[in-house]
């Protein structure tokens, strides 16, 4: 199984089950949940099924491309189903079969793992899904996003693409995975994860552990925050405002990887990100509400 084949199969599977296929959001972020397709999509009453791949950056996990299991950036396949369907676990199990896992030969467990994203004012309950002892997915029923109760509730499924691919192929080193095959007039050339990503891992790890200018990052953090509030307050623009919050979050992650944030400062910094994301979420919900009411007034279905 190649990385791209796994992604294609999952996208096909979820598209066939009534999901929009989204695209990664072009800003650095720590998790697929931060993509506006999820963050804003999980709020409000509108039915919303979407699936997409999201590169997730975790500066503290960088290992210079030398650790066979941990990387600065990995791929998440993210699925949001709102409202959560009654057979959501069965759907998920079918998706494993679509990936080529014959569950008659494996051990599958859903073990409690509640999810919380303090910078997003979001939490949910759910499980880590264990296949033969390995966590292959996170499964969450969102209870709150942006500090607001979710009605209806979305189910979120997150697949760790590289891990699943390693597991399915029995490969012990992430860089030995095959991304896909390139066919030219001269033949077929398999391309490894190493070729596509190892140098990037090395440079990004070096950046977050050594080269990042900490003073600059602190200044950027302040500037993004100011910019975000300006966009939201002066213009009511919650999407461009939210982008600034995403940048704050990543800047914070870089500082954190360097140990530049003390334990006492930490909650305060997280709260500053959360204040902005939650304010953006409220602005979005207010606008949705106003649109739904206007549509009702005109007798147009929402």
């Amino acid at each position: 199984m190649h990385i791209q084949e796994l992604i294609l199969r999952l996208q096909r599977f979820w598209a066939d089950r009534g999901c929009l296929i989204g695209q990664p959001y072009d800003l650095e972020k720590g998790a697929g949940t931060m993509n506006p397709l999820t963050f804003f999509g999980a709020l409000g009453p509108r039915p919303w099924n979407v699936a997409y791949v999201e590169p997730s950056r975790r500066p503290a996990d960088g290992r210079y491309g030398e650790n066979p299991f941990r990387v600065y950036k990995h791929l998440q396949m993210q699925v949001i189903l709102k409202p959560s369907p009654a057979k959501v676990q069965d759907l998920y199990i079918e998706s494993l079969e679509a990936m080529g896992v014959d569950l008659r030969k494996h051990d599958l467990r859903f073990e409690e793992d509640n999810w919380e994203a303090p910078t997003l004012g979001a939490w949910g309950v759910g499980w880590q899904v264990m296949l033969d002892g390995m966590e292959i997915s996170q499964f969450t029923y969102f209870q709150q996003v942006g500090g607001m109760d979710c009605r209806p509730v979305s189910a979120e499924i997150t697949y760790g693409i590289e891990r699943i691919c390693m597991f399915l192929t029995g490969i012990d080193n992430i860089f030995d995975l095959t991304w896909g095959e390139v066919k030219t007039d001269d033949g077929v050339f398999p391309v490894s994860y190493r070729t596509v990503r190892q140098r990037e891992e090395f440079e990004l790890s070096a950046y977050s552990f050594e080269h990042a200018d900490l003073d600059l990052h602190w200044r950027m953090f302040e500037a993004f925050e100011k910019e975000g509030w300006r966009l939201l307050k002066d213009h009511g623009h919650f999407l461009s405002g939210y982008e600034q919050a995403l940048k704050m979050s990543h800047t914070f992650n870089v500082l954190d990887a360097r140990g530049a944030v003390s334990t006492t400062e930490r909650p305060g910094i997280i709260k500053r990100v959360r204040d902005l994301t939650c304010a953006c979420a409220r602005a979005h919900v207010d606008r949705e509400q106003a649109m739904l009411e206007a549509a009702k007034g005109e007798g147009v279905p929402a």
């Binding site: 066979p68 859903f110 033969d132 029923y141 209806p152 597991f167």
Partner: protein, 687 residues
């Protein structure tokens, strides 16, 4: 009782967190049994079953219907209900109408407490079928369960622990008709997911008694104790096959039994190269990350093998074994990365970094704490006649592992990692052992530090926490003890007590407070008083743990507790006499002495020449002998022998007599006696 039937209820959910299963099972059991008691007037017991997706109960012996209820209603006096000719009057007719009976069913009787005959009717309320009562009560009992982390799902407002996907509810052969959040109860359920891959239809449960057997047939062992037992048997057998024994972990075994529906143990291996990691790291990493047990050889050294549970009966193609091995390799690779990274810098070089790590907002950083522990353990070592230098060194080192990668990943390895790193830096054995041990005792039944230095460091660390928190007003009250200060305090007392160290807890607490200095927000005197009460309670608790009876504890504590060595010796001696009836008599006399002396000024010296009655002379002679005794148990024997003479004294002698000199002599005698008692115990509290 005529016909009885069994009730079976199963709530089938998406996977319920293991930690909620038992509490929910117990709470519902109480609810359903209380309901049965109230409505059906029978006292029954319930069987509980649970697995990751199921919570189930069975109650046997319910009557099929409520008993008929007879109740009597009393109305107005007869003279108002019938007229002079004996015909029904308006009031009488209205009374009959009110209770829905004809006037001919109204009787006239004189009920207790009434002065004349009154109208009386007896109503028979037919008992309702139990099935109906259950259909009404079950939804209420289920929705009123206390769910600590309740959730919503889909578009519903319903709240429960996890989404409810099926309800099975039988009363004998009948389905109890009720529904929850759109799910109607029925006579079928779902078995193991694997089973239903090949049998896509729900499983029919023929009756409450067939429940476990039906589910076992569908791949679910629904009794948790049964799953635990099967796991335990397989663990023992497979560890033996691997040439060793399981490193026991009861908590992990409980968890495994709760997270599988069909229990099977998988034996796997990991590369021997990882055995260079400290044993604690391997045990913790395997348990935390992989819910796996380690296997140790006869010499206690780990083998490169692990055991974990799977949720299916077999491993047809070896995927379970290879999968778990794969994950474990990744985890151990990480653990070794942390271990190698951490050792690139000597442990003590991290001391500066502790300045960035807050211990407690008002009390400063871990660096500040380290300095206070150093001073305190140095002083304690000196007063115990030990070398204070080591005390100061271990104190500097003991918190450095808090900023290592390994402790960041596994907080429960704090102390242990510090010790392991120091050991590998060739620190002196007593230094690394002390660091390793200084969080002990971890609980009431786990060991205290084995080394003296470890004991001193453990006390200094805990005492700094306790005294510091008291000094800023963080004092445990009632059930509120968020910083676990009672456990810390208990640890201090237990180490002193078991080690037999002659250190006055209040004296070292005062030293600790000096160290806190200006960081305190409360007056030192107030803090010391609070600490005195706190540690006295801890000492009392320690005596209780050590198994001394209540009378011994109360009497011994009241005679002083800060010399724990002496306190222990006195308790030991008192315990020998705990059942001696003479001590009961002594307690009576001690109380009497207390009452007599209560309103008196401090008596002068005893002048034995003033005494004249034979009983008081005998008592004085006893007392003189007693005061010369130094041994605790001899003293107690002497005290016990005093019971008779004291009784005789009180029956023959009037203490507060008219003659001032004699009275003074008698009071002085009693005062001296009380003094002799208090060398051991306050016997007025002996009961």
């Amino acid at each position: 009782m005529s016909e009885t039937r069994s009730l079976l209820l199963e709530i089938h959910c998406e996977e319920i967190p293991a930690r909620f299963l038992a509490p929910l099972a117990v709470e519902f059991t109480e609810g359903i049994l209380a309901f049965i008691r109230e409505q059906l007037q029978v006292e029954l017991s319930a069987e509980t079953f649970y697995s990751p997706r199921k919570l189930a109960w069975r109650v046997k012996g319910l009557p099929a219907a409520q008993a008929d209820q007879r109740e009597t209603q009393v109305g107005p006096p007869r003279r108002m209900c019938v007229d002079a000719e004996g015909r029904p009057a308006q009031t009488g007719l209205k009374f009959a109408e009110k209770w829905g009976v004809g006037f001919d069913q109204v009787r006239f009787e004189q009920p207790a407490g009434k002065k004349e005959p009154c109208a009386v009717v007896t109503l028979v309320r037919t008992g309702r079928p139990t099935l109906d009562l259950l259909a009404e009560a079950l939804p209420r009992l289920i929705t009123s369960l206390h769910v600590p982390k309740a959730m919503r799902w889909g578009s519903s407002e319903f709240l429960f622990v996890r989404p409810i996907r099926n309800l099975l509810c039988l009363f004998g052969g009948d389905v109890v008709p009720f529904a929850l959040d759109g799910v109607s109860a029925g006579s079928t359920t779902w078995g193991h997911r694997l089973y239903h891959m090949d049998h896509p239809q729900p499983v029919a449960v023929p009756g409450p008694e067939a429940y476990e057997k039906t589910l076992e047939g569908a791949g679910v062992v629904v009794s948790c104790p049964e799953r635990r037992q099967r796991l335990e048997q397989q663990l023992t057998a497979l560890a033996g096959a691997a040439g060793g024994r399981v490193v026991a972990d009861e908590h992990l075994l409980d968890t495994l039994a709760e997270i599988v529906e069909y229990p099977t143990i998988i034996l796997g291996a990991f590369p021997e190269a990882f055995l260079t990691l400290p044993k604690e790291v391997l045990v913790t990493s395997l348990a935390e990350h992989q819910k796996a047990f380690c296997v140790e050889g006869p010499d206690g050294a780990l083998l490169p093998a692990f055991l974990t549970a799977a949720n299916r009966p077999d491993d047809p193609e070896g995927f379970l074994k290879s999968g778990n091995e794969w994950v474990l390799r990744a985890r151990l690779y990480d653990a070794r990365f942390f271990f190698d990274e951490d050792r690139k810098q000597p442990l003590l070089e991290r001391l500066e970094k502790l300045k960035q790590l807050t211990f407690q907002r008002e009390l400063g950083s871990y660096y500040d704490k380290t300095q206070r522990i150093a001073a305190l353990s140095g002083a304690m070592a000196s007063s115990l006649g030990l070398d204070g230098t080591d005390g100061r060194l271990v104190a500097q080192a003991c918190k450095c592992d808090l900023v290592t990668l390994m402790v960041g990943e596994f907080p429960e390895l704090q102390g242990i990692m510090g010790g392991e790193y120091l050991k590998r830096e060739n620190a002196h054995e007593k230094v690394w052992t002390a660091v390793k041990e200084h969080y002990q005792p971890l609980s009431a039944d786990s060991p205290i530090p084995a080394s003296s230095l470890g004991g001193i460091l453990a006390i200094a660390d805990k005492l700094d926490t306790v005294a510091g928190c008291f000094a800023i007003g963080q004092i445990p009250t009632g059930s509120k003890d968020p910083l676990a200060l009672r456990r810390a305090g208990q640890g201090i007392i237990r180490i002193l007590f078991e080690r037999g160290w002659n250190l006055n807890p209040m004296a070292i607490a005062a030293l600790a407070l000096e160290g806190i200095g200006a960081k305190a927000t409360r007056p030192a005197q107030e803090t010391l008083e609070a600490l005195e009460a706190f540690f006295r309670d801890r000492a009392g608790h320690q005596l209780e743990q050590a198994g001394y009876p209540g009378a011994v504890r109360r009497a011994a504590l009241a005679a002083g507790w800060t010399d724990l060595v002496d306190l222990k010796a006195r308790c030991e001696a008192l315990a020998i006499f705990a059942d001696d009836p003479r001590f009961q008599s002594l307690a009576q006399s001690a109380k009497r002495i207390g009452n007599i002396l209560k309103d008196e000024a401090e008596p002068g010296e005893l002048d034995p020449a003033r005494l004249r009655e034979p009983e008081e002379l005998a008592l004085a002679a006893h007392l003189a002998r007693l005061e010369a005794v130094a041994e605790q148990d001899q003293l107690l024997r002497g005290l016990a022998e005093l019971a008779g003479p004291l009784e005789a004294f009180f029956s023959a002698v009037m203490v507060k007599c008219e003659e001032p000199a004699l009275r003074a002599a008698r009071l002085a005698l009693l005062h001296r006696l009380r003094g002799a008692f208090l060398r051991v115990a306050d016997f007025s509290l002996w009961q």
